[in-house]
Each structure stands twice: as C-alpha cells, then as structure tokens.
Amino acid sequence: MKSWQGQSLSWDTKDGVIELALHRGPCNEIGSLTLSELENFANALHGLAASNHALIIHSTMKPGFCAGADLRELYQRSQEMAKGDAAKGVRDFLERIHKVMNTIDAAPLTTIAAVHGVTFGGGFELALVCDLIIADKMGRFCFPELRLGLIPGFGGIPRLKRDLGNGVVRDLLLTGRSFNATKAQAAGLVSQVVAEGEALKVARATAAQIGKFDRETAIAAKKFIKPIPYEELKQEIDIFCDLFMRPAVEQGLRKFVESTDAQPYLP
C-alpha cells in the first residue's frame, strides 16, 4: 500500500520517501486506536522499505509531535477490568507497541522524526526509534512518567541510553523536567534545530540528500552503528508492569485524569 488514511495517522510515499503523519487530537496521544494503526503501518513498512530509502514521521497537530500514551484511556480501561486482567492488558499493550517501535527502529531505510512542540513520553520514545531527530525551535522533550510513579514504557530508557550519556538520561528521567530543542541538541539528541514550522521541510531536504547514497551501504552502516537493545527493552516492560500495579500509580493517574485545572495534576 503506497498510501493509507487512518483516523489517527496516515502515510504516503513520494520520491522514495515515506511520510507518516500523526493527526489525532489533541496531541496524538497513543491509545488503542493509534496503536492499531501504528501496527498497520509497521506491517506495511516491510513492503514499503523495498521501494523507498527514507521515512519521515511528523505531526500535523498544532500542540506538537506527540504527548505520549493516552493516560485517560489507560486509566479508564484499567478501572473497568479485574486487577489481573488489567495487568495482562498493560503488558499486552506494551508488547504490541514495542513490536512496532522495534520494527521502525530496525527498518532498512533512514528514518527521521520531524518534531515540533510537545514531544513527551511515548511521543519522545517514537522520536527515539528514528535515526535522526530534526526539531523546530519550539520542540520540547520530556519523560514525565516518574511524576506519576512510572517509568517510560515504550522503550524510552534503553534507547535514550543508546544515544546519550548516562548523566543526561538521569536528568531527564529522575527530574521529569523537559528540554527545549536547543538543550536537546546540545545533549546530542537532536541533529538539527530549525526555525518554527520548518522541521518537515528540512527533513524532506535531508531525506533527498540521503537518497543520493548507495542503498546497501546506508543499510549496512545503520545496522552497524544502531544496535537495538532487545534485552533491556524486555526488562523495561517487566519493571513498568510491576510498578503499574501499585496503588500509588492508580491514585496518581486518577488525580491526573480527574483534574479539570489548566495545569493537570503532576507532582
């Protein structure tokens, strides 16, 4: 399928470049619908990779690239289930999203996240599977999970460790604070910081440049320099599931979901 239109995302191909656009309001929160459509994309990617050299992931939503997991859906679904079923449901969700992330991470083409605005939690993790991150100057990166008693669950810590020094990883993870694009570039996370609204355009130019190279060499280089930390990714799922079942997480999620303040509950 050269193009596909879903409710939360769509993709199209042009000049050897696949563009995956995220377009679910308010800020591309990843719940069961987005997961299912990401799985469609990951399945199609096997075929698409044969006739394309690059993939660009971007968002058409104004607030940003992606605000992460859909915490409202996560909380509501876990409340509707018996405790054992909720634990199984969370593990199943994580295993499915990890499969998608691993497929994009290992895809035999050059992948670029073109980001702006909020790139938080699962959104940050989606950007981290890409080979390059191009951010406009309004980009903002954060792992807020500890503020709710959790750790990132979509592969964030192992992939952050792959790319950055441990001190920066600890700063992001243990403080839950966000980095702007300039700070993220200084840390080595972002390859290019561009003017507001220009990330997709610059990503397209970068993809065009990459298309001039020998494909086999580009694939070999990527495989050599970007190993996928499978063992740590599995450990991350186990730790997340253990933490998720604690009452403190349920309380934190409830406060967050039920908050009607302009600033939702986050300690």
């Binding site: 607030p63 909020v118 100057k137 954060c142 966000s178 302009a262 600033q263």
Partner: protein, 82 residues
C-alpha cells in the same frame, strides 16, 4: 552589558505573551492569573515556556513553574536565571 531589572523582565514577558496569544498588551496585569487572561491550557503554557526560554536564552525547569500562574512570579523565576 548591564543586567536587566525585574521590571524590564516582566515587561518583556507581558509583551511576548500579548503578541503571541493575540491579547491586547494593556489587558495583561502582572499579578493576574495568566491561564485565565491568556485563555491557555497546559499545552499552551508549555509553548509559552519554550518561547520565554528562547527569548531570554535560559533553561527553566518545569518544576520551577509548578503552581505559578501570575506574570510577576514567572518574571522572578526567569530573573533568577539571567
């Protein structure tokens, strides 16, 4: 270059917020709740934070802004990092 005063910082914040969120500058008062006067939510507050960091060339950790909702306190947090 001499360090700018708190009042100058406050004035720049009010001017920037008014221009970006398209609110008349004279309607913004230093001690008012900016979530209400600007009509913004938490995602737009992050946008404002990034614009302020870019404008003043500083880093302002999110936790320093927890519970902050008026321009004057925001200005004092920024002033401490100039």
């Amino acid at each position: 270059m001499p360090m700018q005063t708190s009042e100058q910082t406050l004035d720049e914040i009010l001017t920037l917020a008014a221009a970006h969120f398209k609110v008349p500058r004279e309607k913004l008062a230093p001690d008012e709740d900016f979530f209400k006067t600007l009509g913004i939510d938490s995602l737009q507050a992050l946008d404002l934070l990034t614009r302020l960091e870019n404008h003043f060339r500083i880093e302002l950790p999110d936790y320093e802004l927890q519970g902050v909702s008026d321009f004057r306190t925001l200005a004092s947090r920024i002033q401490a990092r100039l």
